[in-house]
């Protein structure tokens, strides 16, 4: 299966400072990719390279086999939608006006929005349960509602791939979970998600593939189940971590620093760590080695 988006050996430096170093990843359609890493590890930069905002210093980003920088933004926008972090907007546009912007890639250069555009925008909002807010100013609703508004815009855009930068950041706990549910149901419909996150738990709960970045390099990749382990997390965040399973079978990450008093050791996860390799191939997630020197077991896995 050919990857829908493939990032090949991409390096990128900003003002002479290396941000990404020979990063490769391939994302097939219908996949959820979680990009994990500490602050400044290059997560957001990777997303922006995929969206064609930056020109890589080395390597290429291909969308459907075509270099993303060669694609007119109008064409790209029909395939890939960008859902930025919830931001503060300078002007208080109506929610509906924001969502309607998603129709731009489907219009000629000079255009006016039609009734149909409005209808499409409204139905996207209805789908996410925010149609009652359509006349409210974007600046006057909650963070969760704003995030939903941006997702509604992405839906209106007609793109099947959503690139999301920390979609849950700034949301309260309930809204985080509601947002994850929405992502999950869209993923089941075949939408592709590429998102950065600071919550490895979310990747564990929802499965999907994980890419761990540290100092601009890929340190680990694979299915969430396999890649998120006590050792990989401890290494990634420079923090002793524990990954443990709840009674319901869901795995969660817990920092050691907080649990050291509670002597309740579970070592099962280390064995899990070793035995799940087989699933990798079945998942259809194609791993590409991140750099020559890093020939860990995940690196060998992807040689096709």
């Amino acid at each position: 299966m050919m990857a829908f988006i493939s990032v090949n050996q991409v390096s990128f430096a900003y003002n002479g400072k290396s941000v990404l170093d020979q990063v490769s990843v391939a994302i097939p359609k219908g996949e959820i990719l979680w990009v994990l890493g500490p602050n400044g590890s290059g997560k957001t930069t990777l997303l922006k390279l995929i969206l064609g905002f930056y020109r890589p210093d080395a390597g290429t980003v291909l969308v459907n086999g075509c270099p993303v920088l060669n694609l007119p933004s109008r064409i790209l926008a029909r395939d890939i939608a960008y859902v930025p972090q919830v931001h503060h907007m300078a002007f208080s546009f109506r929610m509906l006006d924001v969502v309607m912007m998603g129709r731009i890639p489907h219009k000629p250069f000079f255009f006016r929005y039609s009734k149909e555009d409005e209808h499409l925008a409204e139905s996207a909002m209805a789908r996410l349960g925010i149609v009652h807010l359509k006349n409210r100013p974007y600046t006057a609703v909650s963070g969760g509602e704003r995030q939903l508004c941006l997702i509604a815009r992405a839906l209106t855009q007609g793109a099947r791939t959503f690139v999301m930068d920390e979609p849950v950041s700034g949301l309260d706990y309930g809204n985080q979970i509601r947002l994850l549910t929405i992502i999950q149901s869209l993923a089941q419909e075949g939408y592709t998600f590429i998102q950065t996150t600071h919550f490895p738990d979310h990747a564990l709960w929802m499965d999907g593939q994980v890419l761990m970045l540290k100092n601009g390099k890929v340190v680990r990749e694979g299915s969430a189940e396999n890649a998120i382990t006590r050792t990989s997390l401890s290494d990634l965040y420079h923090l002793d971590m524990d990954v443990t399973q709840t009674r319901s079978g869901i795995r969660v990450c817990v920092p050691d620093a907080l649990t050291s008093q509670i002597k309740k050791k579970s070592r099962t996860d280390t064995s899990n760590d070793q035995t799940k390799e087989g699933r990798n191939r079945q998942s259809g997630f194609v791993l590409i080695k991140s750099k020559k020197g890093d020939k860990g077991k995940w690196g060998r896995d992807m040689s096709m």
Partner: protein
Amino acid sequence: MMKRFPVVLAISLLLAVASLGSLLLGRYPVSLDDMMNFTSWSFHGCPGGKEQEMGLLQNIFLDIRLPRIIGAVMVGSALSVSGTAFQSMFINPLVSPGLLGVLAGASFGAALGMVFFNSLLWVQILAFAFGCGAVSLSMVLARFNTGDRLLMLILGGIISGAFFTALLSIVKYLADPYNQLPAIVFWLMGGLSTLTNDLLIYLSLPILASMAALMTLTPYMNALSMGDEEARSLGVHVGLVRAVLISCATLMSALTVVMAGIIGWVGLVVPHIARMLIGPDNRILIPTSALIGALYLLLMDDLSRLVFTVEIPLGILTALCGIPFFVLVLKHARKGWG
């Protein structure tokens, strides 16, 4: 934010009433009867009064007041529209049409014309040329650096503006202190008194064309207000759209300088008033700004020519009335730029 349609309709009506009213107002006393007589005289040829009296009325209505009214409407709307476009494009409600140096460049050009050519035509040509030149310079400067395009443009504008302001000071310094210098100083204060019908016709067409072009791009202005990257991800060709927007806005501002000198604050304050009334959606905000700007400048010009036997420079009035209003707007806009 109010209901959009009634607001726009109300402002249009106000503008129409103000325009008609301004035709009746002036230092030279003209009554409504005079106007009726003149209308019947010019349409039916019926002499409602003496021929010479009608000639004078024609002079006052058609040659003196009408060009000023149309001029005020043009300049006010052009400045407001380019201010609104700039504010949306630069995602900054504190931006005015002079951001990229167009006013500084035009001032320098005009001063240059006054000192070295001594003809009104050259003053106008040079004002226009250097206004556009200053903006080009700021765009070239922005290209020198990588990084946030918008920020680089703003910095380029600051540099270009400062450069041309310095050049203007040099010209002022070199100017003959008896005639040229006071002429430059007064010209910089702005005013519509030099406007003639011919000039108005030449200048209105490009202003109207630019305004029309900006109107067609309003959905993109909304998208650009979300930031460059977001706009691009929405399929907007950011570079192209911004270049067109800046060109049109610059053309309009430079032409207002040619018509009326430097008139500040309109391009900053009017977009705020409009946004307060009908919200930030540029599709409706741009036309509303145009209407409010026209109305605002028309009233200011009426004040300028009515209050004293001497004319108050228009630029001073727009600033004096604009500043308190702006303070008021800021007070109401605490929650965000609505």
